[in-house]
């Protein structure tokens, strides 16, 4: 195990685990608290369209995915707020539209199979320097935003109607969060893939919510639980030679079950 740390790819994977745990702690807590899990699923799958086009045209798939993720997030909100279309229907439309575009363009790109596999299932063991840099930048942006606007984020997320009776920039807060959610999803796809990334954002906060009903503590616990799950999952995947994304998610679920079980058998205090 110790000489494993000597490999650059493993150091990168550990760093990605840490950064992803931080991203998912803040953004995941927000998504879970505001019940944005399904819309996040839509954004995730829509971003595949951007990735496919980027592969085909030969520019950064991360960029393509980010553009599609942000546009789909806003489009879903616009469709459901301003037109007769129900929100879950709008999500369903963008979900499959993105996948359809993605599949067509990856298919048209020579040697598409490896791209497809890593987009769908992720591969934390092949995270590049660039991707780590982007993740670190996103972590800084998220922390800066949450530290500066924590009160407003909490109040706007809890009761947006009431928040808008005050002279505070409700739209600025919620639109910025929408962009951060989209970017968090895109950068976490590397870790768990399109199919599994939602679990990375929802399981640690859900487990944390078993332990606390305070938003800020939920972020803290999510980080610790997320980091533990990511690292243990990484080691398990290496030891058993199984796909890392799936191993990480399984460990997260296992932690959830353990915490839930422990709380169930623990004699209730007071």
């Amino acid at each position: 195990m110790t000489n494993l740390l000597g490999y650059t790819f493993f150091q990168h994977a550990l760093l990605a685990s840490l950064l992803s745990a931080l991203i998912c702690a803040f953004i995941g807590t927000y998504i879970v608290s505001r019940r944005l899990v399904f819309i996040s699923g839509g954004i995730t799958h829509a971003s595949f369209g951007g990735m496919g086009i980027a592969y085909f045209l030969g520019f950064s798939p991360l960029m393509g995915a980010a553009v599609f993720a942000i546009l789909s997030g806003f489009s879903i909100q616009w469709l459901s707020n301003r037109t007769e279309v129900r929100e879950d229907s709008a999500i369903g439309i963008f979900w499959s539209l993105g996948m359809a575009i993605g599949i067509i363009f990856t298919f048209l790109t020579p040697g598409y199979a490896p791209n497809l596999m890593s987009s769908l299932f992720g591969s934390i063991l092949s995270v590049s320097n660039d991707e780590l840099l982007w993740m670190a930048l996103l972590v800084m942006a998220i922390i800066l935003f949450f530290v500066s606007f924590y009160r407003l984020i909490l109040a706007t997320a809890f009761d947006p109607d009431y928040a808008s009776t005050h002279k505070i920039p409700v739209h600025f807060i919620s639109y910025t969060l929408m962009i951060l959610v989209a970017l968090a999803i895109v950068l976490s796809i590397r870790v768990a893939g399109i199919i599994l990334v939602l679990a990375l954002l929802t399981i640690p906060p859900t487990t944390a919510n078993l332990l606390t009903h305070r938003f800020n503590q939920m972020i803290g616990y999510s980080f610790l639980l997320g980091l533990a799950g990511n690292v243990v999952g990484l080691l398990v995947s290496y030891a058993l030679n199984i796909p890392s994304g799936a191993a990480i998610i399984l460990v997260h679920v296992l932690i959830f079950i353990l915490v839930k079980g422990f709380l169930a058998i623990k004699p209730k205090s007071n």
Binding site: T29, S33, R34, R35, S148, F149, R151, L152, L154, A155, A157, F158, D159, D161, Y162, A163, S164, T165, H166, K167, I168, P169, N209, T212, H213, R214, F215, M218
Partner: protein, 256 residues
């Protein structure tokens, strides 16, 4: 007394479709106005328009107090998510967000004032609890505290006694009267026609239009003159009908 709020030729409604027409009302510092009217008459629409949640279809709403004072608002129906991870104090403190500006932080004084308010509203024991674990009446106290925490110049209350038990209802109105005597201007929607005349200073009846009645008495005549088709129910076990039947038919309100 100075004017605190002027409503001029206001038409209010949803998506440009009017519900309330031609509303004119001047609220002076120290007023305590009870807003009555049938279900669907437009009371909540009026309060939301004043609170800034609904853009006016036409007309003007002018406030005569600085941004630092602002208004406190207690909604009739709370749209929040009961499972949201937030504590009662955090909810109450969020009433200060407008006053604090964008980057401001809550101070120890703010937190002390929250505690004082919770005691005053008999909600002291709810400290530290998550909002989802409270009963309807307990939540109502927390939201009332949120409306009061910024020490507003004008308080908008949309049926504050909805979830209150008999004892708290009496306490609530006493407290509002006390706050009013200390200088707080209050606009309160209520269906408690039997009780509010003892507390409010004037009445406005809202039923598609607004009719202002400068004294607190609510009698059958008052309701008739102001086209306010609501049943006047004595505060006791035997309800008696004051208005003619055909006017009452429009609303399916029943008292038993």
């Amino acid at each position: 007394m100075n004017n605190i709020l002027e409503i001029k030729n206001l038409t209010a409604g949803y998506n440009g479709k009017p519900i309330l027409r031609n509303v004119n009302l001047t609220v002076r510092e120290g007023d305590f106005i009870g807003i009555i009217g049938p279900n669907g008459g437009g009371k909540t629409t009026l309060i939301k328009t004043i609170a800034g949640l609904l853009p006016p279809v036409s007309g003007e709403i002018i406030f005569h107090f600085g941004d630092s004072k602002g208004l406190g608002y207690l909604p009739q129906v709370n749209t929040f998510d009961k499972r949201f991870p937030i504590t009662t104090e955090e909810v109450i403190l969020s009433g200060l967000m407008g006053k604090k500006g964008i980057f401001g932080k809550y101070t120890a004084d703010d937190k002390k004032y929250v505690e004082k308010l919770m005691e005053k509203l008999r909600a002291g024991h709810l400290k530290g609890k998550s909002i989802g674990s409270l009963s309807g009446g307990q939540m109502q106290r927390v939201f009332l505290a949120r409306a009061l925490v910024a020490r507003p110049a004008l308080l908008l209350l949309d049926e504050p006694s909805t979830y209150a038990d008999n004892q708290f209802e009496a306490e609530l109105y006493e407290l509002l009267k006390e706050l009013n005597e200390e200088g707080l201007t209050i606009l309160m929607v209520s269906h408690d026609l039997g009780i509010i005349p003892a507390y409010v200073k004037s009445i406005a009846c809202v039923n598609g239009e607004l009719h202002y009645h400068p004294s607190p008495e609510i009698t059958g005549d008052v309701l008739k003159i102001y086209n306010c088709p609501i049943e006047l129910v004595a505060h006791g076990p035997v309800p008696h009908r004051v208005l003619s039947r055909h006017e009452v038919e429009h609303n399916s309100q029943s008292h038993d």
